[in-house]
């Protein structure tokens, strides 16, 4: 009768292919023939153990903990005193073997089956007797893991295991000291591929000899810096608590340096970030943006911020809901669990801290509202809330708002503009021909204060008294009565308004008769009818009302007397 041991290798290979890794490990324990056979098998023939976590704690004893995808834990404990290994409640004496060697060999064996990438690896070398040599020296395998935590009290401790991790799969590295006050050099650590390829590094100790170039590549890094020797963009300081001193040192740099440098610095580490965020606004450099555009879109990138610098350089921040990403200067980044709107708002808040000089123009385009889900609506609302909370306003000379259908889209944005600086408001829409009510808009301080108003959406129920205060207006209305026009004329000629060059676009003007009755026959020039009125106290200045029938426009302009064409009648000012 045949025995399994006599099976040809090819057959055994095939049998093993049908087994999961647990069975293979069990089989390995059955007898030395199997053990040798399995240990000699090529990795590709072995089943994947699909572990998610590996943890190892090395002190006098060694504990190896493994967790699989069903959260089952396997624990190996290697005791130095008893020179034994226990697993699954079974203890084996190790005889002449050294427990470190056995543990490392077991780790190696476990890793042999681990083909998928672990999500976490924890190596606690807190009490590891490192005075000797690295326990992992004999580890003959790379570990694929996304997150790596190492606890140690020295650079050599970190270095004893760090190089064994596959730098291509490694994303986040946490280097934890045994005591937070520790000062540990990182000059060797920063040279490793693992450090250079990581996406996020936490050095939760006081790192010595940090060089900016060693941390620049990291999108996220947390390091406690104790001392640092740098020139140019370098700093020399003992301790970060000496904020005053730092301010003295850095004050000039902040003021003369560009704001983008300051923002870059802010990314360097947590302490810089906190420090910069705590600085008074007056200490911060001016970003000197000339234009900011906020655009809400319906496709992939939902929110777009554009900042135009003083030298016309363009910075563009894009936020996409798909994948929860922010893109800046072409560099994408996940914003994790945060809402992109919140992230966008935070970014605006941060950037506006640096904006001291007034903008030429702030442009808010929410024109895509109509097509997209309501979640994006809250951006303007949150923006408004943020400014309210910060008690801050945007200084801009011009404010442009692109809207769809509601006057609330205007009233939510208007209040964020600083009254002192605001000179001009533009309201547009790409689709809206029916018009919007403006009763709330006219009540805002911004409406009352600005000198120039361009309202390209038909304004419903416009009252003449609401527009008299503009020096220039360009307003679209569906219709206007002759009486209102006369009223506007009277307000202007009486001197209570100083309109310069303005225009009403009247889509349907059907009171030709009435206006002729009121103002008398017009001077006809090409396709337009013109009336000339003398103002109350302004001597030579003549108000010209020019009705261009073919273009549905009524212009208000001020002429010098000598510019009035021959044959035109200038009507004297009449109080009534």
């Amino acid at each position: 009768m045949a025995s399994i041991i006599e099976m040809p290798e090819l057959v055994l290979d095939q049998i093993i292919e049908f087994l999961d890794f647990k069975s293979v490990l069990t089989l390995r324990q059955v007898c030395r023939d199997f053990r040798n056979f399995i240990d000699d098998l090529k990795v590709s023939k072995l089943p994947d153990s699909r572990f998610t976590e590996i943890g190892m704690k090395v002190d006098k004893d060694i504990c190896l903990r493994i967790e699989d995808q069903d959260r089952h834990q396997y624990k190996f404990i290697y005791s130095e005193i008893e020179n034994s290994r226990s697993f699954n409640g079974k203890t084996t004496t190790l005889g002449n073997w050294n427990i470190v060697d056995v543990a490392v060999r077991d780790l190696e064996l476990v890793l042999k089956f681990q083909k998928s990438t672990l999500s976490w690896s924890n190596f606690d070398l807190e009490d590891c007797p490192l005075s000797k040599e690295s326990p992992f020296k004999k580890l003959n395998r790379t570990i694929k893991t996304k997150n790596l935590v190492i606890i140690s009290d020295s650079q050599s401790g970190f270095m004893s295991i760090l190089p064994f991790f596959d730098s291509k799969t490694l994303e986040d590295i946490y280097l934890n000291p045994t005591n937070e006050e520790m000062q540990i050099g990182i000059d060797e650590i920063v040279k490793t591929e693992q450090w250079r390829n990581a996406k996020k590094i936490h050095c939760n100790f006081h790192a010595l000899n940090v060089k900016v170039e060693d941390i620049c590549h990291l999108p996220r890094v947390i390091i406690f810096i104790t001392s640092s020797k740098l020139k140019y963009c370098d700093l020399r300081m003992r301790n970060f608590e000496e904020k005053e001193e730092l301010c003295n040192l850095w004050g000039p740099a902040f003021i003369s340096g560009s704001s983008s440098y300051c923002l870059t610095l802010r990314q360097v580490c947590r302490d810089f970030r906190n420090f910069i965020d705590d600085l008074k606004d007056s200490k911060l450099p001016d970003a000197k943006f000339s234009k900011i555009e906020i655009e809400l879109k319906e496709d992939g990138e939902k929110i777009i911020f554009e900042f135009v610098g003083p030298d016309d350089s363009l910075y563009r921040l894009k936020y996409a809901e798909a994948g929860n990403r922010r893109k800046f200067n072409g560099k994408g980044k996940m914003v994790m669990n945060a809402d992109i709107i919140d992230v966008a708002i935070q970014d605006v808040e941060l950037i506006l801290r640096f904006q001291k000089s007034p903008l030429k123009r702030l442009y808010c385009d929410s024109n895509a509202y109509i097509h997209i889900d309501p979640s994006i609506h809250c951006l303007p609302i949150k923006l408004n809330d943020m400014f309210k909370m910060l008690n801050r306003k945007i200084k801009t000379r011009e404010l442009s708002i692109v809207i769809t259908n509601f006057q609330s889209e205007v009233t939510i944005i208007l209040p964020i503009a600083d009254l002192e600086t605001l000179e001009c408001i533009d309201v547009y829409s790409y689709y809206n021909d029916t018009g919007i009510e403006i009763d709330d808009i006219v009540k805002t301080e911004q409406w009352k204060k600005v000198k120039e108003m361009n309202f390209k959406v038909p304004a419903l129920n416009l009252k003449v008294e609401d527009i008299c205060h503009f020096s220039r207006f360009n307003i679209k209305v569906n219709t206007i009565s002759a009486k209102d026009l006369d009223c506007l004329k009277k307000t202007i000629t009486s001197g209570s308004s100083n309109v310069e060059f303005s225009c009403l676009k009247v889509i349907n003007f059907d009171e030709n008769e009435e206006i002729l009755n009121l103002w008398g026959p017009a001077y006809l020039s090409e396709s337009s009818s013109q009336w000339y009125f003398r103002s109350k106290d302004s001597g030579e200045d003549i108000l010209v009302v020019n009705y261009q029938q073919d273009r549905d426009k009524i212009h208000f302009d001020v002429f010098e007397l000598e510019d009035v064409p021959n044959g035109a009648i200038v009507q004297e000012y009449n109080e009534n």
């Binding site: 045949a2 399994i4 099976m7 057959v11 095939q14 049908f18 069975s23 069990t26 059955v30 007898c31």
Partner: protein
């Protein structure tokens, strides 16, 4: 048992037949070959059924035997027990010219038979059947402890094995015959 049933489906193997085989069987009807195992019981098997075995297929494709020659020269497989060969022949007949199913439940459940079958099938190079057998063998020990596996597969522990080996060596030293030592190891 079922070795004489092939007559019912004479047209079936025409499709899978390859060029060298049609040379082996110039007549339109199916050609047959004969095999026997340790027990010398001769089985008549169609060339179509034998195609499953890469070993036999390789042997017959160049022979060009006539019916009489084939009958006179059965293939001897002295290393395969008669009942095991019977199983193999049955399986080949059942799966003649058919796509093989993903599972085969007709395999022997007794482990002794199964191991012998695996060896025979491996020797005869019947790929699909070997896969089923290996799976069956693997299933025997899935989820079992090392002790249980030792019992199921009748494997001595290392200690026992070593002891047996020592004893065998001793005996070998005494009797100066390696053959008997192996037998002693087996008996253990």
């Amino acid at each position: 048992m079922s070795s004489t049933e092939q007559g019912t489906s004479s047209a079936a193997p025409a499709e899978p037949t390859t060029a060298p085989e049609s040379a082996a069987a110039p007549e339109v009807p199916e050609s047959f070959y004969y095999v026997h195992g340790k027990d010398k019981v001769v089985h008549k098997v169609s060339a179509g059924a034998l195609q499953h075995s890469a070993l036999i297929h390789g042997m017959i494709s160049n022979l060009g035997y006539t019916e009489e020659q084939a009958k006179a020269n059965p293939f001897p497989f002295e290393n395969i027990d008669g009942d095991i060969l019977q199983m193999v022949v049955d399986w080949c007949n059942q799966h003649k010219g058919k796509p093989t199913p993903p599972e085969d439940t007709n395999l022997p459940k007794q482990k002794e038979k199964l191991f012998d079958l695996v060896l025979a099938v491996n020797y005869l190079e019947i790929k699909e059947l070997l896969t089923y057998c290996c799976k069956q063998v693997a299933m025997m020990v899935k989820g079992k402890s090392p002790e249980e596996i030792r019992e199921i597969w009748m494997i001595p522990t290392d200690a026992e094995d070593e002891a047996a080996e020592k004893e065998a060596k001793k005996r070998a030293g005494k009797e100066a015959a390696g053959e008997t030592a192996a037998a002693a190891g087996d008996a253990k």
